[in-house]
């Protein structure tokens, strides 16, 4: 009997089991098969179940009456339906549900990768040992755990393909090919030699990962078309029996905005990731997507294109599978009945304190680490444990505990490493990928479509977080600190004579002891400015500030610099202004630097006037929040879309538009228009206004408000001059 050791590259369902791709230690790519049975469950009234039994008897499936656990209802009498055809389990379920819609169904939509990982204890991208009978896997054993930190990196062969321009705007002429140290480009015209060239490259390189720009929306659909045109068959899959699997484009609403996701092209036996169509690629890149695949059991191709929410849902399903809990098809938990008083008590978010407006010197920012997940784990908050005393560890804490521990461990390793160490970038990406899984987990406790969600558990987390923040505030005040600002999981504190990081250690220890949640020092600001509302200088705005840490690093939140719709030119200039101020060691030294800022702004405006600012630094980017026809007064983005529509382009809600402010009829000039804008037609006054506003944010904060010596005063405001 043969055996092999290697990394698990791909798993997918077949009519007679599953296909596995193993990247072996001696660099072979093994195409393996494995028998694999999947089961799902139906529960309900017995006469109905008996009819379902009769219906299924004809279908070549295993049927058994058994007892399984529902997370909320406890043990249930169910009918287990087992099939050795994982590829068609969805069809089987849908037919059954069509016949018997009133039965409750469980475990019907669990991805095959999750079932495989749960059953074999291996993990995607993990190392394993297999014994083989020809290509059939007889047994498989894990050699690594997804919770290990130092996983031996998988020796992936990556082929990168990028067109010479964005195909949505212009027709690409060449395709850049990169493999290892080699780089060259193929002409796309005529298609025949191009297809022959690319096909030869694919066969020669045999990549594990095809990394593209616009592969989903342009390259793979285009390959299909060229293949038909030229008669040259080019199958980008490693599994030759498979075709490229495509998914349609969609627009969806999440996190308060409409987002557009292009069509997708998935491969079998190797991965395709389109960097321009990957949801969180800018956050954590390929390393992060691979880390998420490792811990969630969702394939890399899927994970790169999905939200972290899909990942955390998969992890919850996996915990359920491993603990013999059935996964319901639909969420069953609705909000329990509450009185108005109870609702008022329950329906709060995190604690947000209004900051004390003005500039403050020597301020420490301390943050609770992964506060919400830590609360869920420490206080055993899970939809099925709400209102129960001494409940065994719930599904959510069980899912989160290893994730939380791994992230803390990664962060600890990172803090011990030299920032120039070559491992830092990779570890950071992985920590960030885990962070996103943890972040969304809280939201999914209360999300109306989450499988294992219950709003009361969501509320319990925020209630606990508010309590812990108040405890932290009390501890700080008992020790003589002034709490300048609190925002959900972080505090800004100050005390006369405290300025070194070590000065704050005893405070952090005391808070950690009181709350039981780890807290870390983000840094000590030399000075930090909390901003006031632009409408009324007496009203503070939470989470809008900028400041300089002792090493000169800047930190800023909520100001123009952080906004994606601010032009690069304004952002750069505002950042330069802050960098000038970062030289000040205390608020008293600001005055020395104001002339430099004035010179900076004058210089920036002169550059703009004389055409020395490249046009691409003046691009405004805005999202379409609805279809163009739906605007009563078209926004600048809608007006830019209208210009492009006249050139035959189409836009869906959620797509973003790039444009310049111009002196013409519509006031804008879409960046992707075929003719470029004459720099003389630029609406410089409009850009001046944008810059002035951004600089004002900085200067007003420094000069207009009282300093912390007078923090308690000023109820009637300091603007007596505006009283006639």
């Amino acid at each position: 009997m043969a055996e092999a050791i290697g990394w698990l590259l791909d798993v997918y369902a077949e009519e007679d089991g599953i296909t596995l791709w193993l990247l072996t230690e001696n660099k072979e790519r093994l195409h393996l098969r494995m028998k694999f049975e999947v089961a799902f469950y139906a529960a309900g009234e017995f006469p109905l179940l008996r009819q379902a039994w009769k219906y299924l008897r004809e279908k070549n499936v295993g049927l058994e009456r058994t007892i399984r656990r529902d997370l909320f209802l406890g043990e249930r009498d169910v009918m287990a339906i087992t099939t050795s055809d994982p590829a068609h389990v969805q069809n089987l379920f849908r037919n059954l549900q069509g016949q018997f819609p009133s039965l409750d169904y469980y475990d019907t939509d669990i991805p095959i990768t999750l079932r495989f990982v749960a059953q074999t204890n291996t993990h995607l991208l993990g190392r394993c040992h297999v014994t083989l009978d020809e290509e059939w896997v007889e047994s498989i054993e894990p050699l690594s755990s997804p919770w290990e930190i130092d996983t031996a990196p998988m020796p992936l062969r990556t082929l990168t393909l990028t067109p010479d321009c964005n195909p949505a705007f212009r027709k690409p002429k060449r395709l850049h090919v990169k493999y290892g140290q080699r780089e060259y480009s193929l002409s796309l015209e005529p298609p025949r030699p191009f297809m022959i060239g690319l096909k030869a490259d694919l066969q020669r390189i045999d990549p594990d990962l095809i990394l593209t720009d616009y592969g989903d929306t342009w390259l793979f659909p285009q390959l299909g078309a060229w293949s038909e045109e030229t008669g040259i068959e080019l199958n980008p899959n490693r599994d030759e029996n498979r075709q490229v699997m495509t998914r349609k484009a969609d627009s969806y609403f999440a996190y308060g905005q409409v987002t557009y996701r292009g069509a997708q092209a998935h491969l079998f036996g190797r991965w395709h990731i389109d960097r321009k169509n990957a949801m969180s690629f800018s956050e954590y890149g390929l390393e992060g997507a691979m880390e998420q695949a490792r811990v969630t059991g969702v394939g890399v191709q899927e994970m790169a294109r999905k939200s972290p929410g899909a990942g955390i849902t998969a992890m919850q399903m996996m915990t359920a599978l491993r603990n013999d809990i059935m996964v319901p098809v639909q969420k069953q938990q609705v909000e329990s009945r509450k009185t108005l008083a109870e609702l008022i008590r329950a329906d709060h978010g995190g604690l947000i304190y209004q900051p004390i407006i003005g500039v403050h010197g020597n301020v420490a920012q301390i943050d609770f680490s992964s506060m919400y997940p830590a609360i869920m784990v420490k206080h055993n908050i899970s939809p099925e444990t709400v209102d129960l005393e001494d409940a065994p560890e719930g599904l959510i804490p069980k899912t989160l505990r290893p994730l939380l521990e791994k992230r803390l461990m990664l962060k600890k390793i990172l803090s011990d490493l030299d920032p120039r160490d070559c491992r830092v970038e990779i570890l950071k990406a992985r920590a960030s990928a885990l962070k996103w899984l943890l972040v969304v987990c809280f939201g999914y406790l209360g999300y109306k479509n989450a499988r294992f969600g219950k709003i009361e558990s969501h509320e319990a987390v925020t209630a606990m977080s508010r309590e812990l923040m108040l405890q932290a505030k009390e501890v700080a005040e008992d020790m003589g600190f002034t709490v300048l600002h609190m925002y959900v999981d972080c505090l800004f504190v100050q005390q006369e004579g405290f300025h070194r990081p070590s000065d704050f250690t005893s405070l952090m220890n005391a808070i950690e002891e009181k709350t039981g949640i780890p807290i870390a020092l983000e840094g000590v600001f030399k000075w930090v400015a909390f901003l006031a509302s632009k409408r009324d200088a007496r009203v503070p705005v939470p989470n809008q500030y900028f400041g300089a840490f002792q090493d000169g690093t800047l930190k800023y939140r909520g100001i123009e610099l952080r906004r994606r719709d601010t032009t690069l030119w304004v952002r750069k200039t505002q950042l330069k202004a802050l960098e000038i101020l970062a030289h000040a060691n205390s608020p008293r030294e600001f005055a020395d630097h104001i002339p430099d800022i004035v010179r900076l702004v004058e210089g920036a405006k002169r550059d703009l006037r004389t055409g020395r600012v490249p046009l691409d630094q003046l691009i405004i980017r805005q999202r379409l929040s609805r279809s163009i026809e739906a605007y009563r007064t078209p926004s600048p983005a809608a007006r830019a879309a209208l210009q492009l529509q006249a050139q035959g382009r189409h836009f869906a809600p959620g797509q973003s538009l790039e444009f310049l402010f111009a002196r013409n009829a519509s006031g804008v000039h879409a960046w992707e228009m075929e003719e470029t804008l004459d720099p003389g037609r630029l609406d410089t006054k409009r850009y001046y206004r944008l810059l002035d506003r951004a600089i004002e944010t900085v200067l007003v904060a420094l000069s207009g408000y009282q300093t912390s010596a007078e923090i308690s005063g000023g109820f009637l405001g300091k603007q007596e001059e505006s009283i006639p």
């Binding site: 008022i344 008590r345 007496r538 009203v539 000023g714 405001g717």
Partner: protein, 88 residues
């Protein structure tokens, strides 16, 4: 996202809108003071929220009073200092 009840910020904004006729009738100089009362309440949004009251505006009024008392005690302190300085 997904909240059933209005936030304290929304409630204060609504109350301010409901009182717009009241504000309009005030002299311009008084309007500035009136706005200051709401600014005072907005400094305590977290506390008003934590009060979990059925009538949050009661807590908002308390926040206004609090800021006023604070102002008075600061002024008292300043007066005392001035008196000391002049008599010394």
């Amino acid at each position: 996202m997904g909240r059933t009840l209005a936030t304290i910020t929304q409630l204060l904004n609504e109350t301010e809108v409901n009182l717009s006729a009241f504000r309009r009738t005030l002299r311009r100089s008084d309007q500035y003071i009136f706005d200051g009362l709401f600014a005072a309440a907005r400094r305590h949004i977290a506390a008003i929220g934590q009060a979990e009251s059925l009538l949050p505006f009661e807590s908002a009024l308390l926040a206004m009073l609090l800021e006023q008392s604070k102002e008075i005690s600061i002024l008292e302190q300043k007066v005392e200092e001035l008196i000391k300085k002049n008599s010394g």
